[in-house]
């Protein structure tokens, strides 16, 4: 979004991005439809956090018993949907290409 809006990423801008946690970076997105897509990522991530907040042995037991994380690809799918929505903007297409090719 910085590339799209500002045409370049300055070191100063990068420092401010680094100062936020990954979820805070998503919460900075307020324009629709990107905000809605970011919300979906946060929601799936929240589900993942809840599922994985168990001891290592319990997590292993769950996975080995086939009790895997519900809809395991959804989080990745949502992240990709968000990237694609931003990346297909003509101003960022070349940068998006770098990420996916």
């Amino acid at each position: 979004m910085v590339v799209r809006d500002e045409g370049a990423v300055s070191p100063h801008r990068m420092r401010s991005i680094v100062g936020e946690s990954p979820t805070e970076r998503l919460e900075q997105i307020t324009e629709l439809p990107l905000a809605a897509l970011a919300l979906r990522v946060l929601s799936r991530y929240e589900t993942f956090l809840g599922y994985s907040d168990v001891s290592t042995s319990e997590l292993e037991r769950r996975v080995l018993s086939g009790e895997t994380f519900p809809a395991p690809n959804e989080l990745g799918d949502c992240v990709f949907d968000l990237l694609r929505e931003i990346g297909t903007d003509a101003r960022v297409l070349s940068f998006f290409r770098l990420l996916v090719v």
């Binding site: 590339v3 045409g7 370049a8 990423v9 300055s10 070191p11 990068m14 420092r15 680094v18 946690s21 990954p22 979820t23 919460e27 307020t30 324009e31 629709l32 439809p33 905000a35 809605a36 897509l37 919300l39 979906r40 946060l42 929601s43 929240e46 993942f48 956090l49 809840g50 994985s52 907040d53 168990v54 001891s55 290592t56 292993e60 996975v63 080995l64 086939g66 895997t68 994380f69 395991p72 690809n73 989080l75 990745g76 070349s94 940068f95 770098l98 990420l99």
Partner: protein, 410 residues
Amino acid sequence: MPENVWSRQLTSGLSEDVYFSADVETDGPIPGPFSMLSFAIVYAGRFDGRGFRRPAALDQHIYAELKPISEEFEPDALRVNRLDRERLGREGQEPNVAMSSASAWIRRVAGEGRPVLVAYPLSFDWSWLYWYFIQFSNDGSPFNHSRCYDIKTAVAVKSRRPIVDSGREALPSFLRRQDQHSHHALDDAIEQARSSQTSSNGRGQTVSFLEQRRTETNRRLKELPTHLSELARLLDGRGCLYVTGSYGRRDAGQNSDLDAFVVVDDDRDLPDHAVIESHLGVATKALKIKPFKAKPEHPVVHHLTDLVEEIGSEHDDHKNTFTARLLLLLESQPVLGVDVYERALARVIDAYWLDYTEHCRDFLPGFLANDILRMWRTFCVNYEARTEKEPDENVPSARSKTTSSNTADY
């Protein structure tokens, strides 16, 4: 001051909104001369100024069909809602019964919170329901004279659109119903409730959950240095300690372990790895955090010059400077030596932005993007290789028990 800190200060001690999504079907444009023929009200969630709590399902609702209160009607309105006015004249509820019953239900569901009417757009539904509550309900309007929330305005503000371009079609597709707007009051009220859960605070339940994690993680991180005073003396002026992983992302849970790196900004010998691990072991035990356990083959103590100079080198990965540097940028929180931490960030960013001065108008961080992609893919490959070689650890292989894409996703 960060917005969330500011808003928390403003909202402390506030009472609670209890949202009710509503929809009405009528036989004309204004109440009084014309009649409200049906309405539905759905409980949609609560907001206390800090987090929005949605119900597990949108299954608490009321629906009523009413006797008309006048002889006037507009045929076009009836064609839209397809309600049989004559039938309602015979079978519809008396307005005072329906409105008194609705008011009592709303107050009961709201409990100690304050009911707020939500609609998309609000203006039409509010004017009808408010008028009918005042006119017919035994205890007046449960929404008082002004407790209401317009989703259309919320969409306009959040998406930075003009009001006139903020109708339902402005919602992203997954928030819209796939079928047509039915003009059945209950269907439409539920649809609006779904929209309001997202638009009311823009984050729904997620903020509340993540905020809890952040608050708890911040509390532990704030306390951590008090148990690391000896390590602080050891690093004083020359190094920093930063955490990564879930503590770096500030969403650690009860079962999260502590991942940390030490970076030293001078030419002297690095502090001993075992000493660092010992100090962190004492601190994590005191805070009841899962202990720090680094593997010797993945050193966590580095010179800052190595973090910078190994970028792109053949040693970057196996010396672990690659991971230390990338996690510093992507998900880190300083615990000791904030000055050195800031210097480390600045020097690493400068190294990736080497060509910036000559391309400040169109600089894209391609080098960094490639390194980030490389890191996550290396993690996946390393995990896969480890689980293939060490089956006795009971760590599930990405290929055997889950799909490869699971591993890639996480």
